[in-house]
């Protein structure tokens, strides 16, 4: 028997496929030149970053300005891996980071199950334990990675060069995302205990610290190929519209399914009222860190994609002033609205990078950043709750199962006839 697919799902998947195909054909037939295709890809990347931030701030209510720092971590990590592969033909960087990321991730998951049983453990002590474990495992990963690096390189060289490059690229982007997620876990653990605005300032500090480290990446961190404040060049330009679209599509699906699950409702309950959530048995600290880590993972993923669009990275693109960009996008689109975020990020990229550059007459290019804040202030004054408010596409909108359907499947466990609404947690199980 076929399960009936809801019409909204069909419309959404069909629409997504159509958008992908139209833009792909336009790019392939050079209807869209390089300029516009880059802008569209940047719009997609911004959409991923902003969706991550929307999960953290829009749905979970944690005012974070650190998204840009995680974006930078993802970008530089992925760029370093592919740079080493294409220019130096070595896979040691890939192996070290892959092993390190997996070891640390495993350790975090394992320690979390252990430490979860200890009652009354404060965040800072837990952080200290995770931090020490990360240090030890990091050293171990460097050692192991150097050992298996040549073998991995040999394995990849056996494949055709185009395929091996794509494999390295995909791995690099995913590793960048996981690394960003792990850093966000370590950083978020103690810092998420702070109040809302204080958390914002601490994460802003994180962005600035990352920027300072990137400015001195060649002298202080010892990565000569990142070239510090001069900017990293020679990264292969392999982020195509296909990869951007695929990542964006997966991120949207993951976020939609996450938000429609019981986890998602717990995450939203933290935003609505922490105390009421606690009273309902929601582990507030747990869900705060969950949303923060997933959001940062998206940021790292987007960073990896961004690094391979222009083939050039400069620390000034990760300036803390730019860290307001995703915040501006999600507020313009509407907090807690995925549709709004998607729309706003593409509009933002098209407007700021494309239209304003073309519309302004010769000699007025510098007016771009005078018009942009004016537009921003105007939109905020006219529509303080964002362009779309909390509107969602039907597919992304959370539809609670009707009471009737519930009574059919679970008629023995509850009494629907009494007319009492069913607890949300129960309804989807």
């Amino acid at each position: 028997m076929f399960k009936k697919i809801p019409r909204t799902n069909l419309l959404f998947f069909g629409g997504a496929l159509l958008v992908f195909l139209v833009i792909q054909i336009a790019i392939s037939t050079h209807l869209l030149n390089d300029f516009w295709s880059t802008i569209i890809r940047i719009g997609g990347v911004m959409a991923i970053v902003s969706l991550g931030l929307n999960l953290i701030y829009g749905f979970n209510g944690q005012f974070s300005l650190g998204q840009w720092g995680f974006y930078a971590i993802g970008a530089y990590t992925a760029a370093d891996i592919t740079y080493r592969w294409t220019n130096l033909n070595e896979a040691t960087g890939l192996s070290i980071l892959l092993i390190g990321v997996l070891l640390v991730g495993g350790a975090i998951v394992y320690l979390r199950s252990l430490l979860g049983k200890i009652r009354g453990l404060d965040a800072l002590s837990a952080f200290t334990m995770y931090f020490l474990a990360t240090l030890v495992l990091g050293v171990l990963a460097v050692y192991l990675g150097k050992l298996v690096g040549p073998a991995v390189a040999g394995l990849l060289l056996a494949l055709p060069s185009g395929i091996s490059l794509q494999i390295v690229f995909v791995l690099a982007v995913i590793i960048g995302g996981i690394l960003a997620a792990e850093v966000s876990f370590l950083f978020g653990l103690p810092v998420l205990t702070l109040g809302s605005d204080y958390f914002g300032i601490a994460t802003l500090g994180f962005t600035i610290i990352v920027k300072v480290l990137l400015d001195n990446s060649d002298t202080m961190l010892g990565f000569a190929e990142m070239k510090g404040a001069r900017g990293m060049i020679g990264i292969p330009k392999i982020t195509t519209w296909f990869w951007v679209f695929l990542a964006l599509f997966i991120v949207v699906l993951v976020m939609r399914n996450l938000l429609h699950s019981s986890y998602g409702r717990a995450i939203v309950s933290v935003r609505e009222d922490e105390i009421a959530g606690k009273a309902m048995g929601v582990d507030v600290a747990e869900y705060k860190i969950l949303a923060f880590v997933i959001g940062s993972f998206f940021a790292g993923l987007a960073g990896g994609l961004y690094a391979h669009i222009n083939g050039f990275l400069h620390p000034s693109s990760f300036n803390f002033i730019r860290s307001f960009d995703p915040m501006i996008i999600i507020v313009l689109g509407g907090l807690g609205s995925m549709t709004g975020t998607l729309l706003a990020s593409f509009t933002w990229a098209l407007l700021l990078e494309g239209v304003l550059r073309l519309v302004l007459p010769q000699g007025f290019e510098t007016w771009r950043f005078v018009v942009y804040p004016l537009l921003l202030i105007l939109i905020m004054l006219v529509r303080p709750s964002g362009l779309l408010g909390t509107y969602e596409l039907p597919f992304l909108r959370q539809v609670l199962p009707p009471l009737k359907a519930f009574s059919k499947s679970n008629s023995n466990s509850a009494n629907p006839e009494s007319g009492h609404p069913v607890p949300l947690q129960e309804a989807t199980k």
């Binding site: 005012f63 200890i118 009354g120 453990l121 404060d122 965040a123 800072l124 002590s125 952080f127 200290t128 334990m129 931090f131 103690p190 810092v191 205990t193 702070l194 109040g195 809302s196 605005d197 204080y198 914002g200 300032i201 601490a202 802003l204 500090g205 994180f206 600035i208 610290i209 300072v212 480290l213 400015d215 001195n216 202080m220 922490e274 105390i275 803390f320 002033i321 307001f324 915040m327 501006i328 507020v331 313009l332 907090l335 510098t366 007016w367 950043f369 005078v370 942009y372 804040p373 004016l374 921003l376 202030i377 905020m380 004054l381 303080p384 709750s385």
Partner: protein, 373 residues
């Protein structure tokens, strides 16, 4: 049964209950910092003291900016990101006043009989006053146009608007028709005099002569900065503590609806708060440009951010907190630039902030939060 009740908790339990791991982590960082400071001090006590003096000079400028942040945040819970750019405008106003109109020399022209030091002081004070008034007016306008319509909107809308205003001031300032996109050399409103402090007393240093080794040097820039900042701080403290408007300001910060019921013009008080904060930022702009004689359109970003960190560090909403936090940030910045590395100074300031917030979540002088922010 008695034995089980009086049983001593196991070592693991003690470690967890007393938070020894976290405390140990913080302690390790503190010991590292103290060790670094001691080593630096022993390596060259006079150089170290010189850096401390420079740190005070910077810290007092930060304190003036931080007051604007702390007052505005205390009253409307808005991180006013445009504050740093108001500071920039203040610096530029004083630059034009000095370079184009020679405002600092008017007492010497009008009243030639005055002693030189008095006419210089009056000239400097009039430049500072001009900057303060223009910044206050600018902030008042910004508040009326951009923030007042959003008083009842979600807090984030006002924040985004503040970011928009900040961008606008910066990039409008960068236009050739405004301040221009280049660094401009600032002309100080007074002649720089350096004094050498050594065991044999305080001697004025002749211009062009290299200072002797192992001595401290104080310039009249530091004196101007510290005197003007302290003066403004005392005036502000008097204003907030002793006048009717100050009382209304504190009431509004505590509870807006109730103060409105008590007959306080809340909107007016908020405007006054913005104007006073901006006036202090304008004074800070003059002093900062005097200390580091260069003005340009983006000069307000980093000092503004540092001052905000100082305000949070000291406990937002608290005036002595802003001073203490700013002095800590100023010292940390100068010392880390001297002894760790110049680019790390921003990172150090923020690391201190994060660590202090972990120990005292509302800052050094902050009160525990009364409500969900």
């Amino acid at each position: 049964m008695n034995a089980t009740i009086n049983q001593k908790p196991s070592l693991l339990e003690t470690i967890i209950r007393k938070r020894w791991l976290g405390k140990g982590f913080l302690l390790a960082i503190a010991i590292l910092a103290i060790y670094k400071l001691t080593i630096s001090f022993l390596a060259g006590p006079t150089v170290f003291m010189q850096q401390v003096i420079n740190g005070f000079q910077l810290g007092f400028v930060y304190a003036l900016i931080a007051l604007g942040y702390t007052m505005v945040y205390g009253i409307v819970r808005l991180i006013n990101f445009a504050h740093g750019d108001v500071f920039m405008v203040g610096a530029f106003v004083s630059y034009y006043a000095i370079a184009d109109f020679g405002l600092n020399t008017w007492p010497a022209k009008v009243m030639p009989g005055l002693p030189a030091w008095l006419s210089t002081a009056i000239g400097v004070i009039s430049v500072v006053l001009l900057s303060m008034v223009s910044c206050a007016f600018l902030a008042f306008t910004i508040e009326r146009i951009a923030y007042k319509p959003l008083r009842n909107a979600p807090r984030i809308s006002a924040l985004i608007t503040a970011i928009g205003v900040s961008f606008f001031l910066e990039y409008f300032g960068a236009l050739p028709i405004a301040f221009g996109p280049n660094f401009v050399t600032y002309q100080r409103p007074f002649e720089v005099v350096n004094w050498v402090i050594s065991t044999s007393g305080i001697v004025a240093l002749e211009p062009g002569v290299a200072p002797p080794d192992n001595t401290l040097i104080i310039s009249n820039i530091s004196l101007y900065i510290i005197i003007i900042s302290l003066l403004l701080l005392f005036i502000l403290n008097f204003f907030v503590r002793r006048t009717r408007v100050g009382k209304a300001m504190r009431a509004t910060a505590y509870d807006k609806p109730t103060s409105r019921l008590m007959g306080i013009n809340v909107d007016g008080i908020i405007s006054v708060t913005f104007a006073i904060g901006a006036a202090l930022a304008g004074a800070a702009g003059v002093l900062y440009a005097t200390a580091f004689p260069q003005v340009y359109f983006a000069m307000g970003i980093i000092p503004g951010l540092k001052a905000f960190v100082a305000a949070v560090l000291g406990g937002i909403g608290s005036i002595p907190g802003a001073l203490v936090g700013a002095l800590i940030i100023g010292e940390a910045e100068v010392l880390s630039a001297a002894y760790i590395s110049t680019p790390m100074r921003d990172a150090v300031a923020f690391s201190i902030l994060v660590l202090v917030l972990l120990v005292r979540p509302t800052g050094i002088f902050g009160e525990p939060s009364r409500e969900k922010a």
